[in-house]
């Protein structure tokens, strides 16, 4: 049994997720968390009941028989092929990530930032949010940076710490604009996380500040 994550998305994120209003890239990140979190799966099930109860209580809007006939005429259609996630060993990467990565960590193209950080951008189809994997070498430090927008982080492998605490596999962290931090990977192993941003990072230290103009949001 893998350890249960300790940090989870907040209620407002979970509710927007269960109502289907969370942007695509953020939904993918939340889903990657709850795939391995029984507590959050239970919460999503209960929150979906709220949607079900509200649906049942709506004032019906008349639908003509022509609509019914149109659907009856289509019942023999072959259902469209659905993507179905392959059976997953417990503890393996979340299925949604396997799908977005189309391979292994080593198949991705990584961009190095300094000595201990590498970033790989994945395309989700969400043009407002960047969905990236961060690989921080064991004990390595990400240069101090500011969040111009919000940042969702999900720890996939290893862990990291910053001034506010330490985070481990499965933990979900949400940072708001204006939070400055400088995460450091745990000494024992490399850390890989998902980060979903809605605005580019801004590095603070003089050594890295020159790079800021190159940090555009890579949302696709």
């Amino acid at each position: 049994m893998s350890q249960m994550p300790r940090l989870h998305p907040d209620l407002d994120i979970m509710m927007e997720y269960s109502a289907g209003t969370l942007p695509l890239a953020q939904s993918a990140c939340v889903f990657a968390h709850i795939e391995n979190c029984a507590q959050c799966r239970q919460l999503v099930a209960e929150l979906s009941d709220v949607g079900g109860a509200l649906l049942a209580g709506l004032d019906p809007v008349p639908v003509g028989d022509s609509q019914l006939d149109a659907v009856l005429a289509r019942l023999d259609e072959e259902p469209p092929l659905q993507y179905s996630a392959p059976a997953r060993a417990p503890d393996s990467l979340p299925a949604v990530l396997q799908r977005l990565m189309r391979g292994d960590f080593s198949d991705l193209s990584w961009k190095s930032i300094g000595k201990s950080l590498r970033i790989s951008y994945l395309s989700t189809g969400d043009t407002q949010h960047e969905f990236a994997l961060y690989h921080i070498k064991a004990g390595g430090r990400v240069p101090e940076h500011d969040h111009c927008g919000s940042e969702m982080t999900l720890v996939l492998e290893g862990g990291f710490s910053d001034a506010e605490g330490s985070y481990h596999k499965g933990d979900f962290i949400f940072r708001r604009p204006g939070d400055v931090h400088s995460p450091t990977a745990l000494q024992s192993e490399d850390c890989i996380c998902v980060a979903v941003l809605d605005a580019p990072l801004k590095f603070m230290g003089w050594k890295f500040r020159w790079m800021n103009p190159f940090f555009k949001l890579r949302a696709s």
């Binding site: 239970q42 979906s48 079900g52 049942a56 639908v63 609509q67």
Partner: protein, 199 residues
């Protein structure tokens, strides 16, 4: 005055043993026998709710709303075999299909280029311990009953999120409220609906 407010409805709040859940039965018959009569009954009940759902967000025109109704009802037919009355109420199960279709249709209209559909974020039904299922069973009827007693300002916010498909910040700007107020109404509503939430 005696208010008789008794909708004969699939998930009315009767004890589950005595409950005859018409919509779960319909779904069962569709799955087992491809029963078109059962589907027609289900359609006549749910399609008008679906249309109300499609129109409530004001994101779709009437044409798109009709398209959504057809798409959702066809999916209900195709996926009925995956419905398990022990794990979800028929209302909830159909709601999640409607929600996914709406999200996908919205993204199509926005010309999103993505290989992912909202359905991919559905959780595979899993065999969890019996007590979890029991807990859900009790709870989902409670949610429906408790909903009636929500104060209007809380009910309004929750309906805007789920039925109109709006984010918390969209709700805040529409109602001209601070985001924090919307979030605290949501939190209070979830407490009143007795949804376990530990963070």
């Amino acid at each position: 005055m005696l208010a008789v407010n008794c909708r004969v409805d699939g998930d009315a709040g009767a004890p589950s043993s005595a409950r005859k859940d018409e919509w779960s039965e319909c779904l069962g018959r569709i799955a087992q026998d491809q029963d078109r009569a059962a589907f027609t009954r289900l359609f006549r009940h749910f399609a008008p709710l679906m249309k109300a759902f499609a129109l409530s967000g004001s994101k779709f025109s009437a044409i798109h709303a009709d398209e959504l109704v057809q798409e959702v009802m066809l999916k209900v037919w195709q996926k009925a075999g995956a419905f398990d009355p022990e794990k979800a109420a028929a209302n909830t199960w159909i709601y999640t299909i409607a929600r996914n279709c709406r999200t996908d249709m919205y993204r199509r209209l926005q010309k999103f280029d993505t290989a992912i559909s909202a359905e991919d974020f559905d959780l595979e039904e899993e065999s969890e311990e019996a007590f979890v299922v029991l807990h859900q069973h009790r709870n989902r009827h409670r949610v429906r009953e408790l909903m009636q007693d929500l104060p209007p300002d809380q009910a309004q916010v929750v309906a805007k999120v789920y039925m109109e498909g709006k984010s918390h910040s969209e709700v805040a700007s529409e109602l001209d409220l601070p985001l924090g107020t919307v979030k605290s109404r949501v939190r209070l509503a979830i407490q009143k609906l007795q949804i376990q939430f530990e963070r």
